[in-house]
Subunit: 315 residues, 2 copies
C-alpha cells in the first residue's frame, strides 16, 4: 500500500515528519511505501546522506504550505499547490491508499469532508481518542472535538462508528458502548444524554451498556467505547493531557501512565469519511509521526472505511 | 453562631458525622456551636463517654431519615420529621445560622430551593468545586452538577457568583473569570459558549479574561474562576477525582496532589440561595465532615449570602 504523508504539517515540519517517516519504515509491512508531500529540496536535505529513493519513499513536490494558524476553509480553497491539498487529491484519485498529517487540524477536516465526503447515510464524521484503562487494554472516546453541538442521532452514530472501530482496530470482539453522563440512571443528565439514552437502549446495532460517569473513564470495568459530544469529549482529553503533563512535571511515571502519551497513539483517524485519513498532534515528535503512519497502515489494512460503510448501510 | 448539621446524612452517618462534629469544635471560633439534627439516642451513644452538653453541641431529635437512594422531591415532601427537613426549617426560622449535610444531595438541593428560595433576581443557584493550581492557591469551577442544561444568561450569573465567592471566601482581590471552552478564540466552542462569550466580554460586573481550555485547568496562569454548565463541570470534577484515585492506587502523592482530596475542602456551599447551606461528599470521613462544618462557619462569617444579594441587585 501507499501511505501519503503531509511532510509540511506540524509544529516541527518538515524535520520531525521526515525523520518519523524514516523511523516508520522499520515497522511497516515490506510492501508498504511512503509518499511525502512537500518541499522536495528540504525533504532531501533532511534525508541526506541517505538516498531517499532507496528507502521505500517517494516525494510529491508541492510549493505551498498551509500554516497552523491559518483559517482552515480559506487556506484549503486558496492553497491548491499545498502539501495538504495535494495529499487529499491524491487520495481521492487513488494514487495513495491513506493520508496522514499533523498540520492544521481544521484544514485536514475540511479536506476530508469537502474532497473525500462523508460516508453515505451518515450525518457527520467524528474523531476519537484512545486511552489506557486499569483492567488492561484501552478504551475509545468519541467525538473529541469535531462536533461541538450534537443531536441524539449524532451520538447514536458515534456509538456505531466507535463499535466498528473497537472491533476492527482495537480487536475487541463485542465492544461495550456507554454514554458519558453525570449519573448512572437512565433519567440522569442533560436533554441530549437523556434522549440519546432512549435511542441507544435496546438497539440491535451495538452493545449499549448504559451511562458511564467520568469517575469510571479509566477503570475499564464498564465500557470499551464511550460516546459523547465533541465539546465534552474535547474537555475530557485535554484534561487528561493536563494531568499527564502534571505527572511528568512532578517526575511521576509508570507503564500505565506512560500510555497516556499521545506519542504512543500517534494519531486519530477521521471516522465516517470515504477514505483513510489520520490526524496527528501538532507538536508531534518523530516517534509520534512514526506511530501516526503506522496507524494509517492499520486503518487501511483493517478495511475500516468499508466496514463503516457496511454498518451504516445496515441501519 | 449556630451551625446546624444533618447527623443522619452520609454513607457513614451518624458515626462519621458526630465524630467529625467533635473534631470541628477544636477549630471553630469559641462562640460557634453545633446543632446536630438526628436520632438522639444514637448520637449520644457515639459521643459516650463524653458529655455532649459540655461540648458546645446541641441535639434536635428527629425520627426519620432520608436515605441516599431516595427520590429527592418525594422524600423531602413525605419525611417531614427527618433530620434534613428539620435542619432546613430551623435555618429558615433563624434557629440556626447555617446548615450542612453529606446526605442525599438531591434532597439538600430541593430543601434549599423550596424552603430557602433562590436569591431575588437570580435565575438559578449552582454549586462549585475548588481545586489546586500549580501557581499556588486554588481555582474555583462552577457549576459542577446542579444545572445540566444552561442558557448563556445562566453562565453569566455563575461568573458573577464565582467572582463574589472567590473574593470573599478565597481571598482573591480581583478574580479572573474564564469560560471553559474547546479553543481560546472567541468564536470557538459550541452555541452555548459562543453566545456566553459575547455576554461576558467587556461586562463591568466581573473581570472576564476569555476562554480557557481544560489543558490549563490546573495551571493557575489564566483564571481563578472557571465557568461552565453543570454537565461539563460535573464531568471535569469526577475525572479529576478518578485521576486522584489512580494516583493513590499507584502510591503517588505529594503536597500538590493531596490537595485534590475532597476531604480537605469538606463541602461546597449552594451559591445563590437565601441562607448558607453546605453540601458534603456522601462518603465523608470524620475529617471531611469537620471541614464541611468549618466551611459553613466561613461562609456565614464572610456574609456570602448578603454579598451575593448585593451583587445580583446591582445587575
Amino acid at each position: 500500500m501507499k501511505i501519503g504523508v503531509d511532510a509540511m504539517g506540524g509544529d516541527y515540519a518538515p524535520l520531525h515528519v521526515v525523520l518519523g517517516a524514516i523511523q516508520a519504515l522499520d515497522s511497516l509491512a515490506s510492501d508498504s511505501t511512503i509518499v511525502l508531500f512537500g518541499n522536495e529540496r528540504k525533504i532531501r536535505e533532511i534525508c541526506h546522506p541517505r538516498q531517499i529513493d532507496a528507502l521505500r519513499m517517494e516525494i510529491v513536490s508541492t510549493a505551498q504550505v498551509i500554516e497552523m494558524g491559518e483559517h482552515p476553509v480559506k487556506a484549503f480553497q486558496q492553497k491548491k499547490d499545498s502539501s495538504l491539498v495535494a495529499g487529499f487529491l491524491a487520495l481521492q484519485q487513488g494514487a495513495i491508499d491513506a493520508f496522514a498529517g499533523a498540520g492544521n487540524t481544521g484544514a485536514m477536516l475540511v479536506g476530508a469532508q469537502s474532497i473525500l465526503k462523508t460516508v453515505k447515510g451518515l450525518t457527520r464524521p467524528c474523531i476519537s481518542a484512545v486511552f489506557p484503562v486499569q483492567t488492561g487494554g484501552s478504551a475509545l472516546l468519541l467525538d473529541v472535538g469535531l462536533n461541538a453541538d450534537c443531536r441524539p442521532d449524532n451520538l447514536f452514530e458515534f456509538g456505531l462508528l466507535g463499535s466498528v472501530y473497537a472491533r476492527n482496530i482495537m480487536g475487541i470482539k463485542n465492544p461495550r458502548v456507554a454514554l458519558l453522563n453525570i449519573g448512572e440512571e437512565p433519567d440522569k443528565g442533560n436533554m441530549l444524554t437523556r434522549e440519546t439514552y432512549e435511542l441507544m437502549d435496546g438497539n440491535p446495532s451495538f452493545h449499549f451498556v448504559g451511562n458511564i460517569e467520568s469517575s469510571h473513564l479509566f477503570s475499564g470495568t464498564i465500557a470499551d467505547v464511550i460516546v459523547t459530544d465533541g465539546f465534552a469529549g474535547n474537555i475530557v482529553i485535554k484534561q487528561a493531557e493536563a494531568m499527564f503533563q502534571l505527572l511528568k512535571d512532578f517526575g511521576f511515571g509508570n507503564a500505565f501512565f506512560d500510555r497516556f502519551d499521545y506519542e504512543v497513539y500517534g494519531g486519530t483517524p477521521i471516522l465516517g469519511i470515504n477514505a483513510p485519513v489520520v490526524i496527528g498532534h501538532g507538536a508531534s515528535s518523530p516517534r509520534a509521526i512514526a506511530h501516526m503512519i503506522l496507524k494509517s497502515e492499520a486503518t487501511y489494512k483493517a478495511g475500516l472505511v468499508q466496514k463503516i460503510k457496511e454498518a451504516i448501510s445496515n441501519e
